[in-house]
Subunit: 369 residues, 2 copies
């Protein structure tokens, strides 16, 4: 018997701008799958429960001629992002029906795993040396929270964003109690964890976001100074509440310039993302004019990628973080959108200036068990 | 008996642009000194043998409202730079007539040391936290090279530039044999030492300067690829001979953008100076548009100041470098200008696009012993 297997397909590269639902990214109902009969070839069949629209997916949609740190998304196949799936059938040792797994998975309801069909071809000899083969990230079994926290936490503080925050903060910040950190996109999944890690370490935290609801959220997380950058100029806030010992960058461009300007001597700038630049052309990017201060202030500006620091830091993350979350010492919030058919719009919302209106990591609820 | 004591006085702040000899920086013969009778007050009397026009002096001439890493130069007093002096009379223990000292000293022939008259007022509570009190650097006795090398080496490889190159390279580069480094201003006093340190460590060296004579000089120092950036676009050379594992920046602006573009994953960019920006206004500075690559390529961009690293690295520098120089394993070149009256023009020459025409660290020969 065939069951409908809806999917969200990457239909056309958007060039610049935000991918338009129905044009670049399209929800389709035409596929189906035989849940009982589909061959597993030693793998396992999963049902997708939740999916995560992420800025990095936009970077993967870039034109083929543009190199970057991630491989390209494949046209005609479902989008790929972090997801939570449940196992229906398995031929793989160690994976059993009912197991929940978190990791990269295609935007469709049912999938024979490991998912290799829509993977981008990645030949290290052909790709730029800084390309990270995103598709190499594998699904990992996650334990049932048994009510201590909702499953959706695996998308925020206990998933890739939380690990990213932990790796960058523990690996690059050299944070000391009493120092001041500024976190841009402070209400994002990554930023909200950075705020809490910094507070736990005794730092003064300045945080910005693009909506008043997010400002409230950042305050609730412990930020000492929280502001809406759309209504309050960043430089004004940093002039009053800086100088900075640490800047956590999720944004790029003009925000980095402001952070450099109001950095203290020997400040550390941690470059984690540049959401302001993913959907624009190289020429539209903001030109930073004060990089001379990197030398004059003896700053350290450092980029990192969580999977590279994970071998050293992930064991601590997986040991410490779930406990802190279960105890309520580190909190998180997810913004749930119901239905895979709303996936394309949820994807676009992540990318618009200021991100989603609502605070909380956007998660698409695809199906219940 | 009074002896004429010529000096070069800082007469007027130049705002933007290169200080004009006779206008902003003026040679004067009107002062005199009683060499036998001038009170030493526990200090010592020196005769200036050589002086060093340096880019950092321009930064000190900036308008008072502009903060920076250095204190301001004082109007009406002689310029201050690194110099080599010989002691004529002394009341200070450990300093004897005939001793040679290297360090910060005023642009005049005879000076009662320590020179405090023309020091800028420096109150750490008032100055930005990244200000370094340049005037705090003291004259240090240097040994007679006894013909193993000329005294002028104390201005290049064995002086502040050599120490700067050593501290930055040993402290920030994490250089490994087989890696590729690009050194801008490779014929400068600092750059020429970086080239040799890198070659000694087994690196491939790309180096640029603004004159063909300097290209030849950089090749003689061991640079594998040397080019004149005025006639060959930097990006072309880096595209062909990169990517870079290390970039040594003496220039700032557009050159940094090119280095970021052609950096390998995990490259280190060492920010040592920004000669392209000292004499222009903030608005004229080049805006760097590819800082997003710092995150994507996981780069580390780091500023440093030699005096801050010196407590850790200077002992090795003073132990190793003079031996290497005496053995001819590390070489240097100085470009000597005779006569303090030519000091203002020598100062201006350092600051023009591409620096001096001639290769070699510019040194002003003020007097013989």
């Amino acid at each position: 018997m065939h069951t409908e297997n809806p999917r969200v397909v990457f239909k056309e590269r958007p060039g610049t701008g935000i991918p338009v639902p129905g044009e670049h990214v399209v929800f389709e109902r035409s596929h189906s799958i035989d849940l009982d009969g589909v061959p597993l070839n030693g793998g396992f069949l999963t049902k997708t429960l939740m999916l995560s629209p992420e800025p990095f997916m936009r970077e993967r949609m870039r034109d083929l001629c543009i190199p970057s740190y991630s491989t390209h998304a494949v046209l005609g196949d479902p989008l790929v992002s972090f997801g939570l799936v449940v196992v229906l059938r398995s031929e793989k040792e160690g994976i059993n029906p009912g197991d929940h797994l978190y990791g990269l998975t295609p935007w469709e309801v049912y999938t024979v795993q490991p998912y290799i069909h829509g993977r981008s071809k990645y030949d290290p000899a052909e790709a730029p040396d800084y390309t990270y083969d995103v598709d190499a990230l594998e699904l990992q079994i996650v334990p049932d929270p048994k009510g201590a926290f909702p499953w959706s936490r695996y998308f925020s503080v206990l998933g890739a964003p939380g690990l990213t925050a932990f790796c960058g903060f523990e690996g690059c910040a050299d944070a000391k109690a009493g120092e001041t950190i500024y976190v841009s996109s402070g209400a994002s999944a990554v930023g909200s964890v950075v705020i809490q890690l910094a507070k736990a370490k005794g730092l003064k935290v300045i945080a910005s976001a693009g909506a008043d609801s997010k400002v409230e959220y950042m305050r609730a997380l412990g930020a000492d100074v929280a502001f809406n950058y759309k209504t309050t100029p960043i430089v004004e806030v940093l002039r009053e509440h800086g100088p900075l010992d640490i800047y956590w960058d999720n944004v790029g461009g003009k925000t980095v310039e402001a952070a450099i300007e109001y950095s203290r001597v020997h400040a550390r700038l941690i470059m984690c993302g540049c959401i302001s630049e993913y959907a624009i052309g190289p020429e539209e990017r903001y030109g930073i004019k004060n990089t001379g201060l990197i030398f004059k202030k003896r700053l350290r500006v450092e980029g990192f990628l969580a999977p590279e620091l994970a071998p050293r830091l992930a064991p601590r993350f997986y040991a410490e973080m779930p406990v802190l979350v279960a105890e309520g010492k580190i909190t998180a919030k997810e913004h749930i959108t119901e239905g895979l058919e709303n996936g394309p719009a949820a994807m676009a919302a992540v990318l618009k200036e200021g991100g989603n209106e609502a605070a909380g990591k956007p998660v698409i609820l695809v199906a219940t068990e």
